[in-house]
Subunit: 392 residues, 4 copies
Amino acid sequence: MGKTKKVRVGMVGYKFMGKAHSHALRDVPFYFDTEVVPVLQAIAGRDEPGVKAAAEKMGWASYETDWRRLIEREDIDVIDIVTPNNTHAEIAIAAAEAGKHVICEKPLALTLEDSKRMLTAAEKSGIIHMVCHNYRFAPAVQFAKKLVEEGRLGKIFHFRATFLQDWLMDPNFPLIWRLRKEVSGSGTHGDLGAHSIDLARFLVGEFSEVVGMMETFVKQRPLGTEMDINLRSRAVSSEMGTVDVDDASAFLARFENGALGVFEVSRFCRGNRAGNRFEINGEKGSIRWDMENMNNLQVYFADDEPGLQGFRTINCTEVEHPFAGAYWPPAHIIGYEHTFINLMVEMMNGIAKGRSPQPNFEDGVRNQAVLEAVEKSVQTGTWIKIADVLNK
Amino acid sequence: MGKTKKVRVGMVGYKFMGKAHSHALRDVPFYFDTEVVPVLQAIAGRDEPGVKAAAEKMGWASYETDWRRLIEREDIDVIDIVTPNNTHAEIAIAAAEAGKHVICEKPLALTLEDSKRMLTAAEKSGIIHMVCHNYRFAPAVQFAKKLVEEGRLGKIFHFRATFLQDWLMDPNFPLIWRLRKEVSGSGTHGDLGAHSIDLARFLVGEFSEVVGMMETFVKQRPLGTEMDINLRSRAVSSEMGTVDVDDASAFLARFENGALGVFEVSRFCRGNRAGNRFEINGEKGSIRWDMENMNNLQVYFADDEPGLQGFRTINCTEVEHPFAGAYWPPAHIIGYEHTFINLMVEMMNGIAKGRSPQPNFEDGVRNQAVLEAVEKSVQTGTWIKIADVLNK
Amino acid sequence: MGKTKKVRVGMVGYKFMGKAHSHALRDVPFYFDTEVVPVLQAIAGRDEPGVKAAAEKMGWASYETDWRRLIEREDIDVIDIVTPNNTHAEIAIAAAEAGKHVICEKPLALTLEDSKRMLTAAEKSGIIHMVCHNYRFAPAVQFAKKLVEEGRLGKIFHFRATFLQDWLMDPNFPLIWRLRKEVSGSGTHGDLGAHSIDLARFLVGEFSEVVGMMETFVKQRPLGTEMDINLRSRAVSSEMGTVDVDDASAFLARFENGALGVFEVSRFCRGNRAGNRFEINGEKGSIRWDMENMNNLQVYFADDEPGLQGFRTINCTEVEHPFAGAYWPPAHIIGYEHTFINLMVEMMNGIAKGRSPQPNFEDGVRNQAVLEAVEKSVQTGTWIKIADVLNK
Amino acid sequence: MGKTKKVRVGMVGYKFMGKAHSHALRDVPFYFDTEVVPVLQAIAGRDEPGVKAAAEKMGWASYETDWRRLIEREDIDVIDIVTPNNTHAEIAIAAAEAGKHVICEKPLALTLEDSKRMLTAAEKSGIIHMVCHNYRFAPAVQFAKKLVEEGRLGKIFHFRATFLQDWLMDPNFPLIWRLRKEVSGSGTHGDLGAHSIDLARFLVGEFSEVVGMMETFVKQRPLGTEMDINLRSRAVSSEMGTVDVDDASAFLARFENGALGVFEVSRFCRGNRAGNRFEINGEKGSIRWDMENMNNLQVYFADDEPGLQGFRTINCTEVEHPFAGAYWPPAHIIGYEHTFINLMVEMMNGIAKGRSPQPNFEDGVRNQAVLEAVEKSVQTGTWIKIADVLNK
């Protein structure tokens, strides 16, 4: 423990994602022996009573009411951005220019253009940067990646993914920031689709081209408060506002390696609270994962003995499963919050080794390119090549 | 039983589907009390020893070596067509013109054009006609239909379906007739996609427009024998032939009622032996079904008490589930073959009442239109309206 | 087919089990190429209109109103007994003495004493005899047996089984014959427990000793009609009768090979329509089965690679799974009725080879000994050795 | 937050359970707003380097090398005991006598006698006391309790539970303290059986009588080190020692309310890493739970509409599920460690209100009485009444 180095984190924002990040930062040294250990130095938020209470509740040593002040502080080494999407670019670029390492929630930015500027700023200043696609960090998903990389599935033919929810179906659920294009960039597409795209890029590789569709089922909603941790919100006014983002999005894809992809995200799927699922089909085997039972991985091998072929249900809580050995005995499951702990371990290791963590801002840019290609495809009604979007 | 009327069936073909149909016809009177009862009068096939043995094995009273002879026979009331796809139109039209009722395997024809001619012939002669989309007839699927029709799911927002297999993945699996466009019309798309499309039309309604993609992963295969009931085949030659149909197909769809659809079929999905699955998401609830556990239906209702909301696993083997009461006690499950028994009951009832069964040749035509629209979309890279294909 | 030999079956009784046996006998030659083929020659029942209608419905060539007449007929080779338990011994012994082969529904007799007399009569006359523990004949269970015999599980440590139902929970469900000791011998214990005991003997081996408990939750019920195939019955009188058999039974067991067993059967388990389940735990692996998804077998191997260990869900519908290759393609599932078809194939093969089928009357006797040992244990409150019961 | 009161905790022991308790104490104020908030004041352990490192790693403010010193310290309000079973009584009694509140790991003591002395001491000094049956505190189990208490299942007929593991099957796994009677009291029976008994008492009520069996499959093992968090250990010597505790235990039970119970625990069940499962069957419904998917509860209601009856899979992560609302959005699952957080919340609320938490030392005593009754039954081969053991 004597050799550990502390990095002092300043977090901007303190709601749902702030809670997840704070808890993760607290738990990194409890569960892991990283060379670099995070210190919860300060958080920033505009509402002083709110930010003060949050700092106390979540264990931050101090607080600021302006994020710019956080970046100015010399006792801050890392800026962690958990604010609405439309603020990511400005904060991240300022932090990078100030030489702070940056962790940024996904999607990286409102636009591909913004995300490229963020990457440029980060590379220019030589900081360590990371974008928070946390689902990669479920031990089951990390283990899936290992199987793919070892060639255990052989050539990949298919990837299919959904991320289905149902909390938005009530027409009286209000128009929160996630439903306003100027703040969120897109709706379900950017919020949930970005996760599925990241899993696909992580497990299969780069996208080549896409064709998609989007729909907004409820086009007018009452104005209202932001939602709480249980996804509840309430209308604050009888005034209605226009939903200018999608409720649902789906697209077909071809990957550079020849695999086919099918993607669907929606917030109008009754009974699907967090149906973040994927299946990979390869020459030698297949893999299935479902976030609602995130510790389990379903794995099928074609070279299993005839008569004994079937998907194995593997509870990825053993020492062989990445990150899992640090927690509890086999089958003593972990949960959603641990994906963030593991992600922070990756960030700390990146800082320690001076090595770019995965996923980083370049992943954020490439993710954004796929998101924008789908949006463009919806406008044109045709297939769009990712390269054309990325290099425009 | 005294009031029952017998109809004498003549079946053309006697392989996999012939076995399924023969068994179903035998079992109709065992399990059900239909007004009209089928008699296994005669089967036709070109190979005399083969057709003779099949007749004996499966309980047919006589056989013919030319299907035309079957149609000529006066002691035949119904022609049941279980031959390769490229022969459906000729046989069905001849049968209809001879005034025989017709049951025809799916897909109805090689082309939309052919299927329309079949429908016209059938309507002109006033016969009872049916196309064999058997999965509709699983009690769980029939019960799903009932729930949809009663409005228990409310407005439908989403339908997603897959039909995934893996028996074709060995590059040495030979070029059987299902892989030759001139005989089968298309590959996985027409064979499996036709089933998913039928389920969608049955449960959601008519398609409006589609955009799709297709792929052939293995483009050359050795020439070989047809496969047996266990999907095994072997090469008979070292000569290779070109696969001119798809191994996999996927498409996005919009339905006339505003619902969104996502479809994917493939024979390159390891571990998926018969992954015929769908999910419907509606305003008030959702439904999931998987043929590999075909007795079960997963049903979710949004108006279940908060805290007690979750998908119910319903074993559809009770008197409330269509057709199920005729078989065994609750949870004493039935299987694949019973979908054909139920289908034949629908045909017998159609004959008895002079009422067109569901699905009939018009369903076959509409199904074919969706298949062709997807194919056209693959060629053009754009969305295709079903109406434009259907009315061309 | 030319070499096949026909055996003419006479069946006594024609209700639920009569339906299952009739269907199985009809389907043996459709699906299998056995040397000996059953002919549905005659059925017997006391109620002439009933037995006549059943004969016609189920395809029997003739009928009798007295089972003794069936045994006298020279055109009957096999007697198939599907009557209430209290009649098994008399019919089976008469049939054996007349030199007819005998198939008898389980439990073999009302008492161990009776079952021994049946075995003696059968052995003395040298007939082929079989008791109908049909669940052994699910392909998944047969495959489990194969794995155990090949030593794939190693030494067996544990066997646990339940058979849970819920159709008897309504206090107004009437006092049918299955609830009257003089007709059924015992309640849930003999009806369902006999199945679990058979599976244990088949898969693990002979029982050594047991200790048990039983309970009757509803002690008075209205008199009523027998139940239909959907387990429905209705009271015919306001008069109440006493239930003198158990509603639930459970026991602990030690096997001769050192394994431990835990058994529980009940008709008071809401939501369990036919919860016939078992799990075997051995040195090298484990197996789970559930009749409600009877095509699936869950198999775990301890020597699977670390990190990749988990129960495999095997859909036992492939050529490697006993009996399954005769039916449909992989994952095109079969159902409850096929367990009887397979059982009849075993009987036909026994007749053809002059080899005793499994399970036979000796299995029936040993099963009865375990049932009686549990009953005795309930009376004495102590462990009872099977040998002491069997050899008394 | 201003009204919170801090209680200073001193923990004795710091291995597996120490890790679980430390993490829980840290997280109570992060997730919950309890009136009383725990402070991690000091831990005690005999090995100074070990205890020092643990204190630093887990966030304890100080450490002691003698637990007696911890009890003497005036800055300690609560003693938390996570040491091997044979030390519980001495420490707990000393702590109680010193007026400290006590949290004690299960099983409460080595013997019923000891556990009674602990209860007496605790009651005499008027402290708040709790025994750590953590599985009660899974939100799904708490919700099950709520359903039972509200009468949603009606009269209870059956409870069946298993706790099955497989980490002890290698004959070379060494003789750790859990396998030595003088330290652990019993083997699987006390370690795992105590959990199942607690769940039964929580959900069904008090036991009336039991009959059981036990077995030790591997009777000699090499001496070795204690196991790590991943249940790994290694032999330190070629010397062998005798295992004097059970590897497996099973028993039948009758509850005071007339329900029947079947229990089985074992560490020789391949593929069962932590098979802590139960099912309750009541007049009006049933409930199933499995720790390996601990967020899910399966619930069946008999009054669901006919045709729509089936077990619902409820992901107990919503505001209606006890404790769950404090964590994450619906379906963003929690894990094993959260059962301890919830347990500590119950302890803090007990201290705040001066109200005995559930489960407390009296629960520990009653649990121990059932454990001992089973042991006695194994010795005598007969049923044992709990009252006779408890009041001896």
